[in-house]
Symmetry: C2
Subunit: 372 residues, 2 copies
Amino acid sequence: MHLNDLSTPCALVDLEQLERNARRIADKARRLGVRLRPHVKTHKCVEIARIQTDLHFGGVTVSTLAEAHAFAAAGFTDITYAVPIAPQRIAEAADLHREIDALNILVDHPETARAVDELASSRGLTLPVFLEIDCGGGRSGIRSDDERVEQLARRLAEAEAIDFRGLLTHAGHAYRVRSRREAFEVACEERNLMTAIAAQLRDLGIPVPELSVGSTPGMRAIDDLTGVSEVRPGNYAFYDAFQAAIGSCELDEVAFSVLATVVSVQPDYGRAVVDAGALALSRDPGPVHVDPYCGFGRPVAVEDLHPLPGLQLTALSQEHGTLGGPGVAALRPGTRLRILPNHSCLAAACFDRYHVLRGAEVIDEWHPVRGW
Amino acid sequence: MHLNDLSTPCALVDLEQLERNARRIADKARRLGVRLRPHVKTHKCVEIARIQTDLHFGGVTVSTLAEAHAFAAAGFTDITYAVPIAPQRIAEAADLHREIDALNILVDHPETARAVDELASSRGLTLPVFLEIDCGGGRSGIRSDDERVEQLARRLAEAEAIDFRGLLTHAGHAYRVRSRREAFEVACEERNLMTAIAAQLRDLGIPVPELSVGSTPGMRAIDDLTGVSEVRPGNYAFYDAFQAAIGSCELDEVAFSVLATVVSVQPDYGRAVVDAGALALSRDPGPVHVDPYCGFGRPVAVEDLHPLPGLQLTALSQEHGTLGGPGVAALRPGTRLRILPNHSCLAAACFDRYHVLRGAEVIDEWHPVRGW
């Protein structure tokens, strides 16, 4: 089937570009001497994770327990659930852990640590736990300069029913950079903070088996990960308009796009409408800190993915994507185009299936996991 | 089952509030002498559409052909697909039209009009078509002051295989107002423009059987719809934090919420994290034109839905919702709260099921339509 025979809006994955993206990061991880545990939240798709983990140890990172269940069912046996676990779901995680080699969970609070220890103990289990550190992203995790890092690390290391695996961080501020140079600085700081904390803890007699770091901007920029044991980038499978704007990739490396059809054209008012709205692209505002006029995604040509001149995706409502600019004069009702999303993780989650392309041929259909 | 037994994040629909919301608009439509054709895109759920259409003629509005198929299969026989149709999908619409009383489609371009006429003619059908007018929203539709309104209306009225149903508009700028007073002005302008165009066309001998208008802000604000034949509000089934901010509803009328669990608390840094992120709430920015500090949704108490003091949903990433403010000191890992979304249409679409509540009891589970 040719991609023009697909009904729109729909999600397209360019297989050859995806494979190139995967290989490049896999090679780099090997070169830097770290294990690669890709974050599958970007695509939630076992076929893609198999490509990403090829020639690596096979571990993956997930963002929901639903992903953990689905990837375990598909044969992935070493999974890190990289969101602090809700106390109400520890039992579910423990049950899944028993079925595979390891479901590693995250803790950043003493009450959760106690709840994990009690639950595991009551079931005669030992649960692998990472302590989440906030190295500057300002989301979850204990701040790297907080004295409670030591207290909680000690507590986890001494807990009878916990296998303290080490420290995990995600430099969320890698998404606030403006260039690969700035991403490099954030990634170096992430590495330096984490290796320094690990050294302090080890000096205090607390074993820290692993240091897990990573983001796609950081992994593209960094050149030395001495002291780090594993990296967890995720977006690099697909990339997106945001990553291109901050220098993590070139626009032609983006492997995920949304195929859309023009349904309304009013050249005299300088606008047109495509059938891909907020439910097909998400309302992610994109790299406004780098390009205030980035719009809600990059319209590109169907066949060769070159950016369409004079066209911006200026507004999204639920099922309408409004295009503005002089380029609308070249559009007709029925014209097809592709949109490189601002944020491929959120756009991909809009779809129940990905159409897998080799060139312009649709060669497969893959189904992402949904829910929590 | 009590709502606290649900796994999070999940979607909650308060049945009694939904019924009150539906009844109020249904009563008002009758009082104003217009037919009510609710837009089901907000919930995409046949059970809710049945409540909304109770004691009305049973017509609904949809935003995708997938919704049209699902609602037709559930027994809805008069459906308006309120996005200009893509030429590639006219045949599919024609097939569905043949199975029910009416699938009304939208056209705003002469090329699409010709394609509809040709397709319908080739199948020996007559397809019901509305001409979409842009009354100020600036999205799809021919602008109300454009001379091509007359040309296209005449073309549709004269086409052999088209049943020209009249004019349809959606005052999208009703979402840019700051108060019910402004929404009233927009709704009056919408009505006045549409009745004026219809009068002009009728003077020119072009029959205009119907005038279809409507939005939730407009329907709450307007008090006279003389000349209008039907209204298509949709959001009023659920409402949301946005509608409350612009005066379309009170906060305690919101019937849709997302149940979330606190997974991280750092009171010393004035923040906490819940397990409802961008994939559970959407990245809709909310009523920033009225309240720049609105955040990404309103945290409210689980039981009585009162706004939680000193808590703001300051940031969303894929599966993390970051709470800020002094209220985080009252939170613990495992604390439950509900979030009234900024935009219930986009948040509801994040979920494969709605848990239906009567008070705090979960009494049913409903499944929205997905896809296109």
